[in-house]
């Protein structure tokens, strides 16, 4: 009898961006299991605190295990049920010569901002500069900006 195919579970957002991955043998953990029912801690470089993504925003997908995804999950997006490489996470620049261009105007975007103990979700369209029309909320700490097909953008 053939051995069962190794599987992994990836936690991804509605945009498909994978934030973490785990292989756990025959276990098929849920988003609740993998967040402890509280949050997934997503680190942001140069930020003192992580972004705490709540389980309600995450989906757990059970896929054939891939070492590249397990080692570097944040460089992948789930597209048509499979992980697709989108490049390593980038730091978001709101202005200046290196201002980030997340995509075409009017493209849907999702921004997640850590404001104290709370996570603030903002859904907006991209403006003509390729940036979310709604910016960082007052008092916000680190965050993530997500557009389907674009790399995971992190902000301090």
């Amino acid at each position: 009898m053939a051995a069962p195919e190794p599987m992994m579970t990836v936690l991804h957002l509605e945009t498909g961006h994978v934030l973490a991955a785990i292989s756990s043998g025959a276990l098929a953990p849920t988003a609740e299991d993998l967040t402890g029912g509280e949050h997934l801690a997503v680190r942001v470089p140069k930020a003192d605190e992580p972004v705490l993504v709540t389980p309600g925003l995450l989906a757990a997908a059970r896929l054939a295990a891939r070492h590249d995804v397990l080692a570097d999950p944040r460089s992948y997006q789930i597209a048509q049920g499979a992980p697709a490489f989108i490049g390593a996470p980038k730091m978001f620049e709101a202005s200046g010569a290196n201002a980030s261009d997340l995509g075409a105007v009017d493209t849907d975007s999702l921004s997640l901002w850590q404001v104290g103990d709370h996570l603030v979700e903002i859904r907006s369209k991209l403006d003509a500069n390729g940036q979310p029309a709604v910016g960082k909320p007052p008092g916000a700490g680190p965050g993530m900006l997500l557009v389907r097909g674009a790399p995971l953008y992190l902000a301090t």
Partner: protein
């Protein structure tokens, strides 16, 4: 009250009461046996059967019939139904003038169907009577009638008679199933042996001991050992064994689990359930920073939280780029790799290329052992 039995002497003149007592003695004894050694319910047949029908206007409904069978009630009175008994929509509406319907529908929720006993006087049939004989029937028909309850009636308690009493008057109700009724066409639409987790009463046995005259006792879920029927067998042969298995329909019995005379358990399937002291369960794989490690299958988080199980986790940083050229990627230096009290992974490392980069989240290999403390969980 003391249980009495009639006795007779030569030359005595027998009154009708003496003969009635004689007849009642056996009937009472049978009822006491049935009541004290069996639980009430259907012993055979008495199932609700349906036949699809259509009204003249095209509406579908079902005729429901109670099949012939035998049951005993909680007084030990026997219910014998010799012929199929159609269920009457008029009786349903009589028993439930305003039945509860599903929200926004004309079809009712499930309503319980009971049988109960009825004594019917049977006219005398040409017997010879003396000049002082009183008129009246000489037989009583022990009939069965159907009664429709309201939702929730199936669980209502009924009063058991005194230990010495004979059979009841028929008012004890035995549940035989459930029906739905369409109030728009006043017809039944469905019948079932169970509803909302409540099953029709099935007659049972009150016994503290079941002893076989031979060497084998079998308990099976079905009268005939048909294919697939599960059974439990206690067999004194070969020192004794307890076996759970299934019949194959041709006289064979396939064991699924056996306990032999030495207590050895042989099972074809996996053994699952609550953990016992000394059990160690293992899980492992690769996990990324920030995730909570899942417990092995079968471990209750509440048991772990209460200290009923000890959790040991071993994590090792997993070097990224193992599938690529390390020379091209640089060298990855682990900074932190641990699991906190919530089993959340903290795994960080830095890339050393031309210079040391900032800490980045990374993956780790993990192994978790969960050992159940003494006393079990």
């Amino acid at each position: 009250m003391t249980v009495l039995r009639p006795i007779f002497t030569d030359g005595a003149v027998l009154a009708a009461d003496d003969l009635s007592t004689l007849a009642g003695t056996g009937r009472d004894r049978d009822a006491r046996h049935a009541r004290h050694l069996h639980t009430p319910g259907v012993a055979r047949g008495m199932a609700l059967q349906t036949a699809d029908r259509t009204t003249a206007s095209g509406a579908t409904y079902r005729d429901v019939t109670l099949s012939p069978g035998y049951a005993i009630d909680g007084t030990g009175r026997e219910f014998v139904l010799a012929e199929p008994l159609p269920l009457s929509p008029d009786r349903f509406l009589g028993d439930n003038p305003s039945p509860v319907t599903e929200p926004g529908e004309t079809v009712t929720v499930w309503h319980p169907v009971f049988v109960r006993g009825v004594d019917d006087d049977v006219p005398a049939t040409g017997g010879i009577t003396g000049c002082q004989a009183r008129s009246g029937g000489t037989r009583v028909g022990e009939d069965v009638e159907v009664e429709f309850g309201r939702p929730g009636d199936a669980g209502l308690p009924q009063t058991a008679p005194a230990p010495e009493a004979g059979p009841g008057d028929g008012s004890w109700r035995v549940l035989v199933g459930f029906v739905r009724f369409d109030t728009a066409i006043n017809r039944f639409t469905a019948a079932a042996p169970s509803a909302d987790g409540v099953f029709a009463d099935a007659a049972g046995v009150r016994a503290a001991l079941v002893a076989a005259p031979g060497t084998r006792v079998e308990v099976r879920a079905g009268e005939a050992p048909a294919s697939g029927v599960p059974a439990v067998v206690v067999d004194a042969d070969a020192g004794g064994s307890l076996t759970f298995g299934r019949h194959n329909g041709s006289g064979g019995f396939a064991s699924l689990m056996t306990v032999d005379a030495d207590g050895n358990v042989t099972a074809k399937g996996a053994l699952k359930g609550q953990l016992t002291a000394g059990h160690v369960l293992v899980a492992g794989g690769v996990a990324f920073d920030g995730m909570v490690l899942p417990l092995p299958a079968g471990v209750d988080p509440a048991v772990v939280a209460s200290g009923g199980a000890e959790v040991v986790v071993h994590v090792t940083p997993r070097l990224p780029g193992a599938d690529a050229s390390i020379a091209a990627a640089g060298v990855f230096l682990p900074v932190e790799c641990r699991v906190d009290a919530d089993r959340r992974v903290h795994c960080l490392g830095c890339w050393l290329k031309a210079a040391l980069g900032p800490p980045e989240p990374a993956a780790c290999d993990w192994t978790m052992l969960v050992a159940v403390s003494g006393g079990g969980a």
